[in-house]
Symmetry: C2
Subunit: 495 residues, 2 copies
């Protein structure tokens, strides 16, 4: 009898061991596949990793049992300030984060910065129908204004309350509100306000002296957030000055280049910037042809500065990429593409299928690629062709693609080690730091509980690897030096 | 010169053609992979498909340009009644939908049905602290009540307003509210109210005569929604009657079986039901062992009626499946498993990793599998092992996994032809039809704009194929007969 019982327990124990073995093997296979799993950590990195993971796990495990406390499943506006005080955020701020490869010209600096610009002299303002119009001018502008043009300094002075005047003005320079879910009820509502930001700030920021300063200060802000290099997308608007000069898109590009050169002289530890010319997509094919000519001209004049070409604007609205396929295909041999695609949660629509077009056009990277998760063939192609995905989680929350970042498709992209780079799109418009918030939200809110320093390092390295920076060895080498210093600081508790 | 120009245009035209060809090939590959793509439509089906797709495309394309009008990106409670009036909904109601493989005992019929039960005689009620307690009894119940037990008929009669009394009572039988996003602010808030529904209705529905009637009427309701066969999950509570008898879980299962036999005599066109014994997961291993013994006993007494075993309850809270791995592994040879797993949007946590355990335990199907999209290895395994995914989109919205169904991972499951079956979980608790709402939301809100009648048919066929109905040929044959009739009715405009 006892032999029978023993045998029985032996069978049970073996069977149980098998199930545990099976599940652990499945888990191991997944962890080995995950983005960052090919990174080996040094002893110091392992120590730093323990510190980082301790911060992460503590927060996650509490939230798992108290989901109502988990900030990151709420709207970004509800927690963005609060998380800045956490140790994990501060640590990520210190982390060398590599490059920013998806960021738009005038959406990068805070509303406070833009407000400060309105203290400049020669700025005229026209308040009408809840909107505000700006223009730098020596005399009263001749462009139409339903009410009246006045010097902004006069308007401010004659207001009964300067603080309130500035606070009201500032509202035009941000999407942040206290009740985002009500104000931004759908994707179009969010985009309307988003586009209004660019319309409002356009004449303010395209004043040549401001344009130059804004770009200089952008580079500075990104450098301070521990970014080494950026690829900036710009619509390249016409710039103007007080002497009546107008600078066309090609000239605007060259002005960018001049500012960059100056910045690099002042901050030689920065690794520079390149331009992706990214004009509006809501145009006809004739205009796209013109765009391509402009891009080619910039390339001719500043071949090292122009990274390539893109089209911007809300994908769901206006022409799909397919409409310009012929023109773009023609330009392919001369220009590198970095197209936006799949910034939508419609499935099977023309905007969703921009993903097909940009891959057919041999795009080097895809901006957003949010919808890619619904495209098994394209997921394979992206991996096979080494097309990087420029993922902007915070942007996708603010512009209403997803409410809870835990449902962001980036989680699945990371799980299968797709070539992901993190970016921040227009962090100034939603009052985020240049890149740290996106890393924080991804690390804590999107990635697996298991994702650790290896993933963080790989994301930073990806941003260098998939950039068009010409000397990868050099920039990666410098990254490694900064990374080692960062790790040492963590281990020595100096961050 | 003209030859050069001609040659130039020829090159351009060829190149352009290539890009179009490429994108179309990529699209074709995806459409060929999609769930339902292996179905061939007859001429009649093609005509019906045109009608269905016309309804779908019209609605989708309008919503694409006016996203604020798109009901299905809102909360289910905000549109569930409205969509019932659409032609597409009515058409889907008529559609033979195959089987329901994921539905829970007492969550299936509407609050109006439950309210009606409170008009039965011998029902006592105890109102206390905003909650309500019920008990059928010949005399005043002896179980504790903070205020007082009274006959419900007396309480109703002595209320100043019967309509209001009933409306207040009805609130305990539904999760539907007019402001769902405020009331159900997080997953725990939703689950609390959800669990309270089962606690409140428990003593009402576990009264043996009610239990029998409820199951009979469930079968009727599902049959009327054009479901042929169901696999019902039950916690198998103890039942009671006025004579003081108490019926244990095994007896409750046999009572189910008796009701089913009676129903099948009354409605021989129905294809029957099987039971998945699914007790609460928030227990210790000793209790799980007891559960397994109960399941084995039911299997011994009614081998054709018991489909298998599962565990229920909020996965994020309480013990992960891993804790019972040994006990479950031991039972594997005798019981088929149909486990819930991955009903979570946490990633890398114990509830997320229940997916690993249930696959290691050779589960036949996975209930929900919401988190599976983040598990590339498991996605492969599920396909390789033919493990069906019981997806419950509406449930996932109501129980706070996802706000906008367009972001439901089901879209990706359908895209890669995973073995999906649609189900409705607890449609009575959120006032949905037995299965039509889930088909409607999936077809219009989740699946690709390209998904058509082929996908609908395949989903229905999947539900039969992945069921445990013993004679697949027979049930599929009957399905085909009903399907042909359904198609004829559409084509003849008779639906």
């Amino acid at each position: 009898m006892s032999i029978v019982i023993c045998l029985f327990y032996f069978i049970v124990a073996t069977a149980a061991k098998n199930a545990i073995e099976d599940r652990n093997k499945l888990l191991e296979r997944e962890l080995k596949m995950m983005l960052g799993s090919d990174i080996s950590l040094s002893d110091s990195e392992m120590k730093a990793n323990d510190i980082i993971m301790d911060l992460k796990i503590k927060e996650l495990d509490y939230a798992f049992h108290h989901p109502q406390t988990f900030n990151l499943s709420k709207h970004f506006f509800d927690y963005k300030d609060e998380v800045e005080d956490t140790e994990l955020f501060k640590l990520l701020q210190q982390m060398p984060k590599g490059a920013v490869l998806h960021a738009h010209d005038t959406g990068l600096l805070s509303p406070d910065y833009v407000l400060e610009l309105t203290y400049m002299k020669d700025l005229y303002v026209c308040f009408q129908k809840g909107q505000v119009q700006f223009l730098f001018s020596e005399n009263i502008p001749k462009t139409p204004c339903a009410v009246k043009w006045q010097l902004l300094s006069d308007a401010r002075l004659s207001s009964s309350n300067v603080e309130k005047f500035d606070a009201d003005l500032r509202k035009h320079f941000t999407l942040v509100v206290s009740n985002p879910k009500e104000v931004y009820s759908d994707v179009n509502a969010a985009w309307r306000k988003f586009q209004q930001y660019f319309i409002t700030t356009g004449p303010l920021l395209s004043y040549k002296p401001v344009w130059e300063q804004y770009f200089y200060d952008t580079l500075k802000a990104f450098r301070e957030d521990n970014v080494m290099y950026i690829e900036i997308r710009s619509v390249l608007p016409e710039l103007y000055d007080l002497d009546g000069n107008v600078y066309d898109s090609v000239e605007t590009a060259l002005i960018y280049k001049e500012v960059l050169d100056r910045f690099m002289e002042d901050y030689p530890d920065f690794y520079g910037a390149k331009l992706i010319y990214a004009p509006f997509r809501m145009v006809d094919t004739k205009t796209v042809k013109k765009y391509i000519d402009i891009a080619k001209e910039i390339k001719r004049l500043a071949p090292d500065f122009l990274a390539g070409f893109d089209l911007v604007g809300q994908e769901d609205i206006g022409a799909p990429t397919k409409d310009f396929l012929s023109e773009l295909e023609e330009a392919k041999s001369e220009l590198d593409f970095f197209f936006h695609a799949g910034e939508t949660n419609w499935y099977g629509t023309s905007s969703d299928e921009n993903l097909l077009d940009v891959i057919a056009l041999d795009t080097k990277r895809i901006g957003h690629a949010f919808a890619l998760i619904k495209h098994p063939v394209l997921l394979e192609e992206v991996k096979k062709r080494g097309i990087a995905l420029e993922v902007n989680v915070v942007s996708n929350v603010v512009l209403k693609l997803v409410d809870d970042v835990r449902n962001h498709p980036l989680a699945a992209f990371l799980a299968q080690d797709l070539p992901v780079v993190l970016s921040s799109d227009d962090p100034g418009v939603w009052e985020a730091t240049p890149l740290t918030h996106d890393f924080y939200v991804t690390f804590l809110g999107v990635a697996s509980r298991h994702a650790d320093l290896k993933m963080l390092k790989k994301l930073a390295l990806n941003s260098l690897y998939y950039s068009t920076y010409p000397n990868k060895d050099k920039i990666v080498h410098e990254f490694e030096i900064r990374w080692t210093k960062f790790i040492d600081n963590i281990v020595k508790d100096k961050w």
